[in-house]
Amino acid sequence: MEDRLILSKEHLKSFLRKISKRHELIAPVKNSSGDTLLEAIPSLDEVTLDLKSKPVMPAKNFFLPRSEVLFKYQRKGKQYSFDEVLDDTPRILFGLRSCDLWGILFLDMIFQENFKDRYYLNRRINTVLINIGCNEPMENCFCRSTKSGPFLTHGYDLQLTDLGDKFFVEIGRPRGRELVEEWNYFFSPATKKDREHQYEMILEAESRFHQIVDMNTAISRFMNDEIDERIWDELGNRCQNCGGCAYVCPTCYCFNIVDMPLSENAGERKRIHDSCTFTGFTRLAGGYNPRHEKKRRIRRRFYHKLYYENKKHRRPSCVGCGRCVEICFGRVDMINFIKMVCERGERSLRESSLRLGEILIEAGLLNREELKNALERQASTGESLGTQLIKEGLITREGVARALGYQLKIPENAGTGGSDGK
């Protein structure tokens, strides 16, 4: 079977009906109130599929539910018995947005890298993922900037493109191929014209974004430690601690584990979604909280999304879905943050260079002339002053460290690790 096929629109429901016989079919449905939610579909004739807008919640919740029972326990006398709850319902998630599918690929990495999370993986291996590329990005979408949409090149089982009267279907992973092969009579091979049409759709979609954010610059600001500290104060003031940004994020995977007694002798162990912006998230048993201030927690959140994940997995864990942008009470969202970082970084780079220059002059490691020349060169390289001076051999790494340590009253033998990895 070819990798590129055509499914006519009038066959869509028939195809879905067939594949939903052995799977629970989950698809985006616009309800009578106008909200689009990913819903389990008992009968295709009773719902309005919405293949154009982004569901309120990401697909994450089908693998890492908002709350889930891990096991039930019961006590008889001194004996405990346990009953593990594993969900192995076969599912097809149909009509996912590319950003949401990309989010699941990210979670796949997280839930099996150090520890294979059975609850997650059990659901995952029983699920087929079918996305539909976005011809028309929504108001706050910026997946083009995060390279996780509007169309994917891999990772899907099947990917659909809406060509007007028909869908262009791309086969990705084997499970997609199996489905198509089993129900091959719905499909016909795509012609050269279809391929060209699809390619045009991709190009057009990419030109239609309302939001373009400079993810690369933001990440490099993190790398070079050039984030203007005042940004955290501002965001901290505006955050209202609702936790919404984590709840709606396709890649936020933090959870809390709690035991919920149901009676004297029985109960459940559950895990529930958590958010790093909550005070209780980092508070230690003794009451001390390393991130007591809201701005520290927000700082941690953005560091995690854009810096630590990037360091560890070579990609930020933002998929550009724009949900946090839509919902934030105080505009403490990804787009606003990146804009703030990019706009202020320039100034802050200059300011921090001047500050370092003064410190080095005071320590006798540099003279004013050398500083002036270095700053001029820096304007073209864009590197931090310290890095540049070291590269140019004007000073040594130890020299910079000692001068800074003296200035900031850090003992010379102090550790360099911090809670934020700085």
Binding site: N31, S32, S33, G34, D35, T36, L37, E39, A40, V56, M57, N61, P65, R66, S67, E68, N237, R238, Q240, N241, C242, G243, G244, Y247, V248, N256, V258, M260, P261, L262, S263, I272, D274, F278, T279, G280, R283, G287, R323, E326, I327, C328, F329, G330, R331
Partner: protein, 674 residues
């Protein structure tokens, strides 16, 4: 899994959310994105609102006190006993020996039925609810000034205001969705004035922030009006065409000395001048206020002063322009609308008015008592009430001076409580009836913007619990006044018949367009997002001359600190629900007292150390939280926590007109615990 759209059970923003149901259990919450207030997000409470519903502490069967202990009972037994006891007390002492507390947590239909039960079955007007404790002064004050006691505008209009004055409302914590519209307005270049004794989050965004002493609101409001008057910034034509009593009012302003502003409120006059000029100079200004204004012995005065200020500048009667008392609870607006008040039947129809009573009598087919009943505060004087039915309220935590309240509850001849948990109040009951939560019943809530919205059943009632409307029907039947309703929709049909402001409210109309704003007098009426268009509900707006009265209890040498009480973002009222939600408990596990760093230093207290807070009424040992969000010589305590109940300390002094207690000011002493 399926989802059921409903209205949030916490504050009065009226967010709509989907409860996620899997295998008969609530497993999550999804905010509605299309809903004009939720806009795809909820506060921390809303996001976690599914969790308490199936908590193991839920009351699953009725309880009857036997030999001093509450023991499991059958419904028939509990209802028979309740009906018999209420009848017995009514026969022995007369109907006015009975008191009913309705509930701002329950639906409109339930509040309507319970007030009908009080009046038609028990024959008493002794029915009230916790609006007494939060906005009774708004209902009276705004009614007096404008002719309607509710928010004049809808929430979404805030985003279009040019200026917003926030006073006595910690909006980001207590009405986060409303704060979101304030942020939207700021983005569009609106100005913000914050006037609050506590340095709240919004104050950091304010163009003018003033920190007056507690309980001095009449002075700064009058000062602001005097400045506007002197500088001729008032709206002359509006005053002439739309208001009355301005001559007397302007003379009163002329006699007011601006020196008082600095002397009494402790705020710089220049700051107030800036605020006054800003407020008066724009076209579209909104005033947002809440309990910091209402919970004083001068609560009604404060509210009327705010109304005066709005009328003086013509800042009412238009879109994006008005006065917004932010109601605290999911259905406190509705409970008032339904007449769960001692002086009014549903729709604020005066119970003393013969024509009104006649209308109700014709439909209810029974005589109704004419003289207004006792308020929720007066019911606990320990003298007049011998039997009580309390639906979903917790006065043993929420009322001032709770030691006294608890003593009265203990001595009560017969107390029946219906609730979802065994609250501190229910512990004193003779009969406890297990009620269904918001997720287990149908009905409507009316949010702070007067938006009437559906509440929908997501799961069947937990255990053998029942919705309160069914409980009231069962009791009524046993007291020879059968109430037969198949559904809350049928109750609403009766409400519409009797209540002009709800005249066009029918369930089929509530399915689309996110509910209806009252007044909605008939089936064709589209509802009213903003009030007083063209003319005030009472005809002409009324200027009231107001003199300052200081709080009833001021600090002295023995009790040198002001104590003010309120709520925290993470918790909800008396904690019966929020203290059973894991994420919320983790955010804020226990009570605190906020103390200014300077005071903490002189007391020798570090953050996290326990202190004793002592008032004339009692002592609470609680952890100190040191913050300069509170001014010197003032401390703040939330009242959510049963281990550290702030209301042991609060004063029972109340506003003579609204009977609202002065929760916001009393005097205390702080002692370090050695």
């Amino acid at each position: 899994m399926h989802r059921v759209l409903t209205t949030c059970c916490f504050c009065a923003c009226g967010c709509n959310l989907y409860l996620e149901v899997d295998d008969g259990k609530l497993v999550g919450v999804i905010p509605s994105r299309e809903h004009p207030v939720s806009r795809g997000n909820l506060c921390i409470k809303g996001w976690n609102s599914f969790e308490f519903v199936l908590h193991k502490d839920r009351l699953r069967f009725p309880l009857i006190r036997k030999n001093g202990r509450l023991e499991k009972a059958q419904w028939s037994e509990a209802l028979d006993l309740t009906a018999a006891k209420l009848t017995q007390i009514k026969d022995k002492y007369g109907p006015d020996a009975l008191g009913i507390l309705s509930s701002a947590k329950c639906t409109n239909e339930e509040n309507y039925l319970l007030m009908k039960f009080a009046r038609a079955v028990l024959k008493t007007n002794n029915v009230d609810h916790c609006a007494r404790l939060c906005h009774s002064s708004s209902v009276i004050g705004l009614n007096h000034a404008f002719g309607s006691g509710a928010m004049t505008n809808s929430i979404t209009e805030l985003a279009g205001a040019e200026l917003i004055l926030v006073t006595g409302s910690n909006t980001t914590e207590q009405h986060p969705q409303i704060a979101r519209f304030i942020f939207d307005a700021l983005e569009r270049g609106a100005k913000l004035i914050v006037i609050d004794p506590r340095r709240i989050q919004l104050s950091r965004f304010a163009h003018v922030y003033l920190q007056p002493r507690l309980g001095t609101d009449v002075i700064w409001l009058k000062g602001m009006m005097k400045i506007i008057f002197e500088e001729k910034l008032y709206d002359d034509s509006f005053i002439r065409m739309r208001t009355e009593n301005f001559d007397a009012f302007s003379k009163d302003l002329e006699n007011f000395d601006l020196e008082y502003v600095e002397k009494v409120c402790g705020i710089p006059l220049e700051g107030l001048r800036r605020a006054a000029r800003l407020y008066a100079s724009v076209k579209r200004a909104m005033i947002i206020y809440s309990m910091g204004i209402t919970q004083h012995i001068s609560g009604t005065d404060n509210v009327e002063s705010i109304a005066n200020l709005a009328m003086l500048t013509g800042h009412v009667e238009q879109e994006f322009t008005g006065v917004g008392p932010l109601r605290g609870q999911n259905n406190v607006q509705g409970a008032c609308d339904m007449g769960a008040l001692p002086g009014t039947l549903s729709g604020y129809q005066d119970v003393a008015d013969n024509d009104v009573r006649k209308k109700f009598k014709n439909l209810w087919k029974t005589e109704l008592p004419a003289s207004p009943g006792l308020t929720s505060i007066e019911m606990f004087d320990g003298k007049r009430i011998h039997g009580m039915f309390i639906m979903g309220e917790n006065p043993a935590m929420s009322h001032p001076d709770i030691n006294k309240i608890r003593a009265v509850l203990k001595e009560m001849e017969f107390l029946v409580v219906s609730d979802i948990f065994l609250t501190e109040t229910a512990e004193y009951a003779d009969v406890v009836l297990p009620a269904a939560s918001f997720a287990e019943k149908d009905g409507t809530f009316t949010s702070t913007e007067r938006r009437i919205q559906r509440v929908r059943m997501a799961i069947p009632p937990v255990g053998s619990s029942r919705p309160d409307w069914q409980i009231v029907c069962e009791l009524s039947k046993r007291m020879n006044y059968p109430m037969e309703y198949d559904s809350p929709a049928e109750i609403m049909e009766e409400i519409a018949l009797l209540t002009p402001i709800y005249g066009g409210v029918f369930y089929n109309r509530l399915e689309d367009e996110w509910g209806l704003f009252w007044p909605c007098p008939d089936k064709e009426h589209p509802g009213t997002p903003f009030l007083h268009k063209g003319s005030f509900a009472r005809g002409k707006g009324h200027f009231e001359c107001i003199d300052y009265r200081p709080p009833a209890e001021l600090p002295d040498s023995e009790y040198p600190f002001y104590l003010t009480t309120g709520r925290m973002y993470q918790h909800w009222l008396t904690g019966s629900m929020s203290m059973r939600i894991i994420t919320l408990v983790r955010e804020m596990p226990e009570g605190i007292v906020e103390i200014n760093p300077a005071d903490a230093k002189s007391l020798g207290v570090e953050s996290g150390e326990p202190v004793r807070v002592i008032s004339r009424r009692g002592t609470v040992k609680v952890k100190a939280h040191i913050t300069d969000d509170v001014p010197k010589k003032s401390v703040f305590m939330p009242f959510h926590f049963k281990e550290t109940p702030a209301n042991i300390l609060t004063s029972t002094a109340f506003d003579p007109r609204a009977k609202i207690p002065e929760f916001k000011v009393c005097a205390v002493r702080i002692e370090k615990v050695q």
